[in-house]
């Protein structure tokens, strides 16, 4: 629709015919959803599950949920999409499965560009070169300031400091507690996570079990440091630990460095160590590591069980599963038993943050372990002629 300037030249106004500018209320079919991911997948073999690095495992799982088991089948029992083009490590194109039992997806295709790092994903969103990309939580605020449309999930990723089994002798309870007290979690969330997340004193966020507020943190950073110094006064000799982090993860590095700074104020010397991808934490020589644990379920029992299982592989934590009949009280008691031992020091919960282009409609952020609802997403098509 063209713009008509009003007959009266005394008024300069911009008229936009409502018909042309009216956003559609019903989903539109068509279009190709452009997706950027950071992982570089070289194989789509079925059954690999969550093999590979965290990013790769997540991407693989998401793609598998879109295409189902019969990757290239267009049968009703296949996935909502099928593989139509595959350039290993570079580009994966999925076409809508016309016969999908849940209804043909609105978009015709999904074009997944692989190997896009966080900065490139953000730029693509700003420049409207992609429709969907996951954004690091600490970049969310800056992305919003630059006009990127964001969708933020509930906090479902725990950032924690975990003392390894190997450091049991070196890092005694008082030291662990002192480190826990000295950490300014508020600053971690405000500055490092840029307020995209919540300080954590327990393993499960409030929205999952509802008891996160029962785990206390020091009233202030100064109080925490004072308490840490009080604990360390009872120890003889200086304390020095090595804190490892994934060298490819800027967030873990920033958190590790901040923990070291906090601990130094309390009198504990912490040296940070970047652990290269592929090397295990226990082989790295670190006494503790920064860990990112993503929830695999919104159910508190399953989420905690899964956390404890992962933690039990690294730290002196009871990794056994909770009973199916575990109540909120049971879950809380089990959680508190882990926390009060200070083998695991929760730091913050972070959400998943997704950047969306302006034309993506009906997107809702998936919950823990839920797949990207690309089958429900539709793209608003532009008008035939753009009014000026």
């Amino acid at each position: 629709m063209s713009r008509r300037v009003a007959a009266s030249s005394a008024i300069a106004c911009v008229l936009i015919p409502v018909l042309a500018a009216m956003p559609a209320r019903r989903p539109q079919y068509g279009g190709t959803l452009r997706v950027d991911i950071g992982a570089t997948l070289t194989s789509l073999d079925a059954g690999q599950g969550r093999a590979g690095s965290g990013e790769e495992a997540e991407a693989r799982a998401q793609i598998e949920s879109l295409i189902g088991e019969h990757r290239q089948s267009a049968a009703a029992d296949a996935g909502a999409f099928r593989v139509s083009e595959w350039q290993p490590g570079k580009l994966l194109t999925l076409a809508a499965n016309e016969k999908f039992s849940g209804g043909r997806p609105y978009v015709d295709a999904i074009e997944i560009s692989m190997g896009r790092n966080a900065r490139d994903r953000l730029l693509d969103l700003e420049l409207n070169k992609t429709d969907f990309a996951e954004i690091a939580p600490q970049d969310a605020r800056r992305a919003a300031e630059r006009g990127v449309r964001l969708s933020v999930s509930q906090p479902d990723e725990l950032l924690a400091l975990v003392f390894l089994n190997s450091a049991r002798e070196k890092a005694r309870t008082q030291v662990r507690e002192a480190i826990s007290c000295s950490i300014d979690r508020g600053a971690v969330v405000s500055f490092i996570l840029q307020k995209t997340g919540e300080p954590a004193a327990g393993l499960l966020p409030q929205w999952v079990n509802g008891t996160a507020f029962l785990f206390s943190m020091p009233a202030s950073a100064a109080a925490g440091v004072a308490r840490a110094k009080e604990l360390l006064q009872q120890m003889a000799g200086p304390t020095k630990l090595v804190l490892g982090y994934d060298s490819a993860d800027a967030l873990e590095q920033a958190i590790a460095e901040r923990v070291a700074v906090n601990a130094k104020e309390a009198g504990i010397s912490i040296v940070t160590l970047g652990i290269v991808t592929g090397k295990t934490a226990s082989d790295s020589g670190a006494d503790a590591v920064i860990l990112r644990l993503t929830m695999n379920s919104a159910k508190p029992r399953m989420a905690l069980t899964d956390f404890l299982s992962e933690l039990g592989k690294l730290a002196d934590v009871d990794g056994s599963a909770l009973s199916d009949l575990a109540t909120t009280q049971d879950i809380f008691d089990r959680e508190r038993a882990v926390i009060t031992d200070y083998q695991v020091v929760p730091l913050a919960w972070a959400p998943h943050v997704y950047g969306l282009s302006g034309r993506v409609r009906d997107w809702t952020a998936p919950g823990p372990a839920e797949s990207w609802p690309f089958a429900d997403v539709w793209l608003e098509q532009p008008a035939a002629s753009t009014p000026q």
Binding site: D184, S190, F191, Q194, A221, A254, V261, T272
Partner: protein
């Protein structure tokens, strides 16, 4: 050492001294000059460093001010000036801004001194940087040095602070550049000079903290002393470091303290100046000087020798003349025609020798007369003794003929016996005189003195152990390698005989007769010693006087003959004696007798004439 040699040596010494003094002077002056040059170089370099330091500081200040004046910073300050402003949104700003402004360090600090964003320590957001807010006049202050705690450890930075004021609140921009090897690389150094930077970040000296433009400096521990001196007393100091056994490897290092705002020592700049060129040049000059000195010395040697020769030639002539005179050739003359003192000396010498000859002739005349008088006296004395009994005997004969004819035969017989005896004595005396007078001049030939001694001893062998007398034991101590002398063997044999006889006469009770020969320099010595009664000093003085004898019998000419023989051979004879011990006669003969001269044995010992 000859006069010429002494003169020559003196010339050389004077020359050497002069050359040495000049060389030392040149070396000292050169060294001073180089030191001065080094000092000037170092001062120039120091000035350059200070200019560079100031320039770098101005650059840092300019960049920090640029950041403070940027709109984004102003907006940040405005935002932070509001109550409950959200500081967290700026936590990552420092990194990007520092990179775009090429700063190694950058901190945004809020009004309450809390760090908003830090480039060098991103995790220190929220912590206080109190020193920033304690200073109120950052606008008037320039850049300064500061120690920063970074993730990579302590580092040294050239820092500046700029303030953005909004309302009553300040936003501080603290930025700087690392002072490290890159700074050193930016210094333009003349050849032979280098710069090192010590980052005084630890209380104790750390080798790793000493850097050059390429990184950690090698052999850093050699600088420990200088650095420690700086740490104790931060002031301009210097030290010479010799890197190897060769002096040319030396380097002179000037240490310049780099202090922070509170005058604490944060770093030390070491400006090294290689002494290689200086030492090499010094050495070159020294060698040149030595070469010149050697050449001069050689030339001086030649010149000195020629000068000495010229100067000493007349002296030599004089010496030769005096030597001839000493040897007896009193008619020696020195032919020197020179108007100077030497010429005068030669003239005087010639005059002196002429006079000597005249005097000698006169003396010879006088001595001849005296000798004749002495001879006549001696003769009279000697003859008088036997003549008296002759006279008495003849008078007895006369008396007996006249008065006692009956006893005349007996008196005649006694008297004739006495007359014959005394006539024999007279004949002996005359014979001795004749012998003494007839003593020929020695006919020189090669003579082995040891052989003569042996022959003489062999001659008297029987007498040494004659029956009826106490034995005399001869002891021969003859040097085997006694050189052959030029002498008259017969005369020497006679002299030795006389001495042996004399010794035998001195040992009536027997004893030891020791004969020793030895050689020293150009003379041979014969010692004949006895173990007789010895001589008194008076006897020793007169012993060589003809007709003086201490014996009951004898003419007293034996030792005089010995003395005459010795004198004819150009030798000397002396006696040592001690009463009760014995007497030793020492004869020194030259291997080659001197020029024949009229040698008249001078025997005057006693002053008064015998009656």
């Amino acid at each position: 050492m000859t006069f010429r040699s002494k003169l020559f040596i003196n010339f050389i010494l004077a020359l050497l001294l002069s050359v040495a003094l000049i060389a030392i002077g040149v070396t000292l002056i050169t060294r001073q000059a180089f030191s001065q040059l080094n000092r000037e170089h170092s001062e120039a370099l120091l000035a350059q460093f200070q200019r560079e330091f100031i320039r770098r500081g101005d650059e840092v200040l300019h960049r920090v001010k640029g950041i403070a004046e940027e709109q984004a910073t102003t907006l940040m300050a405005v935002d932070l000036s509001r109550p409950n402003s959200d500081v967290s949104v700026y936590v990552n700003d420092a990194r990007g801004v520092s990179q775009s402004h090429q700063l190694d360090f950058l901190d945004f600090v809020a009004n309450d001194a809390s760090i908003i964003s830090s480039q060098e320590n991103p995790a220190r957001f929220g912590y206080k940087m109190d020193w920033v807010t304690q200073q109120q006049d950052w606008g008037t202050r320039g850049a300064f040095l500061m120690k920063l705690d970074t993730q990579e450890g302590p580092q040294l930075g050239l820092m500046a602070v700029s303030t953005v004021r909004v309302g009553d609140k300040n936003l501080y921009v603290v930025g700087g550049q690392r002072l490290d090897k890159k700074f050193l690389a930016s210094l333009v150094l003349p050849a032979g000079m280098r710069a090192l930077l010590y980052l005084n970040l630890q209380p104790e000296f750390q080798s790793a903290d000493l850097v050059n433009e390429d990184g950690p400096a090698p052999d850093a521990e050699r600088f420990a002393t200088l650095i420690q001196k700086e740490q104790q007393d931060p002031s301009d100091q210097s030290e010479r470091i010799v890197w190897s056994v060769y002096p040319v490897s030396a380097e002179e290092f000037h240490a310049i303290p780099l202090t922070g705002r509170s005058k604490e020592l944060l770093g030390v700049l070491l400006m090294g100046s290689s002494q290689n060129a200086a030492i090499a040049l010094e050495r070159r000059i020294r060698w040149l000087a030595l070469g010149v000195a050697a050449a001069g010395l050689l030339f001086g040697l030649f010149l000195s020798w020629w000068a000495a020769s010229r100067v000493t030639r007349p002296v030599q002539a004089l010496v030769k003349g005096t030597k001839e005179v000493a040897e007896g050739n009193w008619s020696a003359r020195v032919n020197i025609r020179s108007g100077d003192e030497i010429g005068q000396l030669a003239k005087n010498f010639n005059g002196m020798t002429e006079q000597l000859v005249e005097q000698r002739d006169k003396l010879v005349q006088v001595e001849r007369v005296a000798a004749w008088r002495e001879l006549a006296r001696r003769l009279a004395h000697e003859l008088k003794n036997p003549l008296f009994p002759l006279q008495t005997t003849v008078e007895n004969l006369q008396t007996a003929r006249e008065h006692k004819p009956e006893q005349f035969d007996e008196v005649f017989r006694e008297s004739t016996g006495i007359l014959l005896t005394e006539i024999q004595n007279l004949k002996t005396i005359v014979g001795r005189f004749s012998d003494f007078a007839k003593m020929p001049q020695p006919e020189l030939a090669d003579v082995n003195l040891n052989e003569i001694v042996r022959n003489v001893v062999k001659l008297f062998d029987a007498q040494f152990s004659a029956v009826g007398r106490p034995p005399i034991t001869p002891e021969l101590h003859l040097q085997d390698d006694l050189p052959v002398i030029q002498a008259d063997a017969t005369l020497l044999h006679r002299a030795v005989e006389n001495l042996v006889l004399n010794a035998m006469d001195a040992m009536p009770a027997g004893g030891v007769l020791m004969l020793r020969t030895s050689h020293k320099d150009s003379e041979v010595r014969l010692e004949i010693s006895d173990t007789g009664a010895g001589l008194t000093p008076e006897e020793s003085e007169r012993i060589f006087t003809p007709y003086y004898t201490s014996k009951q019998h004898g003419t007293g000419l034996g030792l005089a003959i010995v003395q005459a023989v010795v004198a004819d051979h150009g030798g000397r004879i002396s006696v040592e004696s001690e009463t009760g011990v014995g007497t030793s006669f020492h004869i020194d003969l030259p291997v080659k007798p001197p020029h024949k001269s009229t040698v008249f044995p001078i025997v005057f010992e006693k002053k008064e004439e015998e009656a």
